[in-house]
Amino acid sequence: MTTVEKLKTILVEELHLEELTPGDIDENAPLFGEGLGLDSLDAVELVVIIQKHFGVEIKDLDEGKTAFQSVQALASYIEGRLKNG
């Protein structure tokens, strides 16, 4: 499974997006505001989700801002962090 696919599955499960399947999520659509419509509480939950499932720590939300643009952006960020340690 690619990071993008893994992320989509995790998002649906951990954020309880019950009316969606992973396939419904557009990896280039915004996560916050429009698109998936997540909010500030989801943002901090996402930080924990990424720590738990990928072992990548996001120390503050400014760091997360670019990463959280879309599923694709998040996947690239995670892969980059895992490669660089």
Partner: protein
């Protein structure tokens, strides 16, 4: 629409700044900030966030630390009234306490044991069930009047005072012991860190570089009484509870409403019920946790509704004591009115261009006779009390 003032005839307080009301107030005026990484518990979180723990206080084994704090503060407050317990026993006295930890079935040792498939010892659960802080205070003083435990998160302490005042005005009791109490434990610590609203250094309320709050613990209790009862028993009023207002944001579970509408309503109601005009307010004890959102929203509301009125956060000296905060800050506000001075807003150095007003930076003389203390809570509750000099 203004309501009858309620006399505050006794005050007690315990927090990181001091083990009683006078010591705490003096520490604030000296600018002392007693924070550090937690000593009473450990966490495997990689960052050690500083907190404001109460030093040199051991709770008895059969009581939650929260309730032990509540009792400690209540004893000081009742002693402060000068009333002996026999006279107290002749009054209808109610108890109204705000807390977040004090009634929650949240016990890590017990849950770890259960989760691991053990048969955990029930003592921690029994301790919680026996430690409702309002009950504990009522039992201590042999009080048989109504009691209420307010659990409105960070506004609990302020709400408890407002509610107790309204119970006295409604004639449901002659006097009340009212306030708030909360201990700092691992579960609270871990929870706030997970929300990413804690600062890993000392908090900076209203400052440009603020990054979040520091947690604290403690309790404060106030003895409230009608003016008639105050006269009849020979108690003296240290201060007056002139009014109270509260309103919900109806917006989000953790973030404040950006336009501060709930706080605006609460301030309006508090001023209307006290018959006080904004211009006559000597100062405002703000909620001022040091989180980016709270301080931005709160300062804008203060700028609009109480322009030019000095304001400060005292959380730089006590930390955010959650259910105790509103009560501790009411005690500080009343003491400031008595002394005619307010401490500096600890942690403030650099103005934030997004915030049009700045808190007081040094100990400041105040000559007015009225002040506000406000609290903003998770869930969007905003509560304000108006206190008057005796």
């Amino acid at each position: 629409m203004s309501v009858a003032p309620i006399a505050i005839t006794g005050m007690g307080c315990i927090c990181a700044a001091g083990g009683n009301q006078a010591d705490s107030m003096n520490a604030l005026l000296r600018g002392e900030r007693r924070l550090g990484p937690p000593v009473r518990f450990a966490s495997n979180h990689p960052i050690r966030y500083p907190v404001f723990e109460v030093a040199d206080f051991e709770e008895p084994p059969d009581l939650l630390r929260t309730s032990a704090f509540a009792l400690h503060a209540a004893r000081e407050a009742v002693a402060d009234t000068g009333l002996d317990r026999r006279t107290l026993g002749t009054l209808r006295v109610g108890v109204c306490v705000g807390t977040t930890v004090g009634t929650v079935m949240s016990e890590e040792t017990f849950c770890r044991g259960y989760l691991a498939g053990d048969v955990p010892d029930m003592a921690p659960v029994r301790r919680i069930l026996r430690s409702n802080p309002a009950d504990v205070i009522a039992r201590e003083f042999g009080l048989s009047g109504p009691r209420q435990t307010v659990v409105t998160a960070c506004s609990s302490g302020t709400d408890a005072l407002g509610i107790a005042g309204s119970w006295i005005r409604a004639g449901l009791y002659d006097a009340a012991i009212a306030g708030g109490a909360d201990e700092l434990g691992r579960i609270t610590y871990i929870g706030f860190i997970s929300l990413m609203i804690t600062d890993d250094s000392s908090c900076k309320p209203f400052d440009r570089h603020r990054r979040g709050l520091n947690l604290g613990e403690g309790a404060a209790m106030l003895v409230l009484a009608s003016e008639a009862v105050t006269r009849r028993t020979g108690m003296r009023a240290r201060s007056f509870l002139l009014g109270y207002g509260s309103a919900g944001d109806a917006y989000h579970l953790t973030a404040p409403r950006p336009d501060g509408a709930g706080l605006r309503s609460a301030i309006s109601e508090a001023l209307a019920t006290s018959g006080v005009s904004p211009a006559s307010v000597a100062f405002v004890n703000a909620h001022g946790t040091g989180t980016p959102d709270n301080d931005r929203v709160e300062s804008r509301v203060l700028r609009d509704m109480l322009p030019g009125i000095p304001f400060l956060s005292t959380k730089g000296y006590t930390g955010h004591t959650l259910g105790a905060a509103g009560a501790i800050e009411a005690v500080v506000t009343a003491a400031c009115l008595e002394m005619g001075k307010i401490p500096a807003n600890a942690g403030f150095e650099t103005p934030d261009p997004e915030i049009a007003n700045t808190p007081v930076r040094e100990v400041t003389t105040v000559s007015g006779s009225v002040a506000l203390s406000e609290s903003l809570a998770f869930g969007g509750n905003n509560s304000v009390v108006v206190l008057g000099k005796a």
